[in-house]
Amino acid sequence: MSTGNMNLTLKVWRQKNNNAKGALVDYKLADISPDMSFLEMFDVLNEQLINKGEEPVVFDHDCREGICGMCSMFINGRPHGPKDLVTTCQLHMRSFKDGDTIVVEPWRAAAFPVVKDLTVDRSAFDRVIAAGGFISVNTGNAQDANNLPIPKMQADAAFEAAACIGCGACVATCKNASAMLFVSAKISQLALLPQGQPERYRRVQSMVAQMDAEGFGNCTNTGACEAECPKGISLENIARMNRDFASAKFISEETV
């Protein structure tokens, strides 16, 4: 393991709070191990800032193993940095070169207001889920799982949609700050399974309505979301959501 052989210049977005005006601030970092994760590199920066009596950079992180969806940095113009199918915590400094300048910004969207520095408020996603991203079942003994036969293809597609960790990279990278990939994944994971059927058309209408109310943009099918998604969520989910939305509005006799 090689250590301490990278010198970097960071340009980090610093913003005191939501109302304050932010700016990119330059930091020089020396002797960074290429085997550090991107967040560990930020830990080093923050240690140095604390030792100098300065405010550390605030950023979201939790599990640091790519499954919680908390980390959210926009690195050199791409969410979660230059590597495909990884979150920022899974990104290592060996993906950069000695002497690089790295620009780090928060997710930018009207629906994701900056809380401080690199941390944004993603509770808009929670409200979209609360609007219909669930199934209603009576409590009691759980029935045997095999009572409901599900074709393998269907189960796999539902599982792939369920891999979404809700990090918001799709919104961050979309030129329209659209949340279609996230919302469609959360709709699809239920629409593909028998348990999701009773509320299927009610769900798509309420979740889309909430998505619109939160101020996300409209999809223009650039495919940037799919390309940047750390979990590889497919654009097929957006088509499925659109199809379900059309069915709900023009075919279903149920009015929500």
């Binding site: 340009k11 977005w13 990119l24 926009f74 050199n76 113009g77 791409r78 230059p82 620009v103 910004e105 930018r108 969207a109 009207a110 629906a111 990278t173 030129k175 329209n176 700050a177 659209s178 279609m180 209408q205 889309v208 309505a209 998505m211 619109d212 101020g215 996300f216 943009g217 409209n218 999809c219 223009t220 099918n221 650039t222 495919g223 940037a224 390309a227 940047e228 654009l235 097929e236 957006i238 088509a239 499925r240 959501m241 659109n242 199809r243 379900d244 939305f245 059309a246 509005k249 023009f250 009015t255 929500v256």
Partner: protein, 226 residues
């Protein structure tokens, strides 16, 4: 919400309008390009003038023309509305944004390409549509039909106009390259067995239509056809 509720005012509904009108305009271009390509029969525009005469006089076509303008205006106004909304969705821009890493430039530039096409359309309608509908075609051909082909030959003597038309066809090609498959995706017509056909048909359609249209001013300017 009741009945159709916010079917067309929601984000997805607005996109449905873009997709449906887009596919409608795609169908129109096939008719337009097909009839114009009659000039390549190389009979001095006789067959083309028959086609043009039919399009100008048949009442179903004339009624369709009204639907066409409604579709076109809906496509333009909806695009403007969506673009303004999308800009509001990201009030603070990124200092660095590496768009080319994850998407095609033309998929991100549909508004720009569409605006160029709109400007071209004003020129184009003034060149031909206004002449054939309002100011009148000055001459008749050997078969006694109004000689729209003569108008075409006269207009495409101007090299500036020829260049403008060719550049517009580049905009059209890239606009269609994204728009064709995108309309299917928006309408939810996504299916693993047909996705390849849709994408392939979209590319072929965009390239063939644009090349055929661009070939018309080129052929007339260089006198490659009678």
């Amino acid at each position: 919400m009741s009945g159709f509720g916010n079917a067309f005012s929601s984000s997805i509904g607005k996109k449905f309008i873009m997709g449906i009108t887009g596919l409608f305009l795609i169908l129109f271009l096939i008719v337009h390009c097909g009839i114009n390509a009659l000039i390549f029969i190389n009979d001095g525009g006789l067959t083309f003038n028959v086609g043009a005469h039919f399009m100008a006089t048949n009442w179903i076509i004339r009624a369709g023309e009204i639907v066409l303008f409604i579709g076109l205006l809906a496509h333009i106004f909806q695009a403007l509305r969506l673009t303004l909304e999308n800009q509001k969705a990201r009030p603070v821009k990124y200092a660095v944004n590496d768009g080319k890493a994850n998407s095609k430039w033309y998929s991100r530039s549909m508004g720009l390409l569409g605006t160029l096409l709109l400007i071209f359309l004003v020129v184009h309608l003034k060149d031909f549509w206004v002449v054939s509908r309002f100011t009148g075609i000055p001459t008749v051909d050997a078969s006694g039909h109004e000689d729209l082909y003569a108008v075409m030959k006269e207009k495409f003597q101007d090299p500036v106009r020829v260049v403008v038309y060719i550049l517009a066809m580049f905009s059209l090609c890239y606009h269609l390259l994204h728009g064709f498959a995108s309309a299917f995706q928006t309408l939810g017509w996504n299916h693993s067995k047909y996705n390849g056909i849709i994408k392939g048909a979209g590319v072929w359609y965009s390239v063939i239509i644009s090349i055929l249209f661009a070939a018309m001013p080129i052929a007339v300017y260089f006198g490659l056809i009678q």
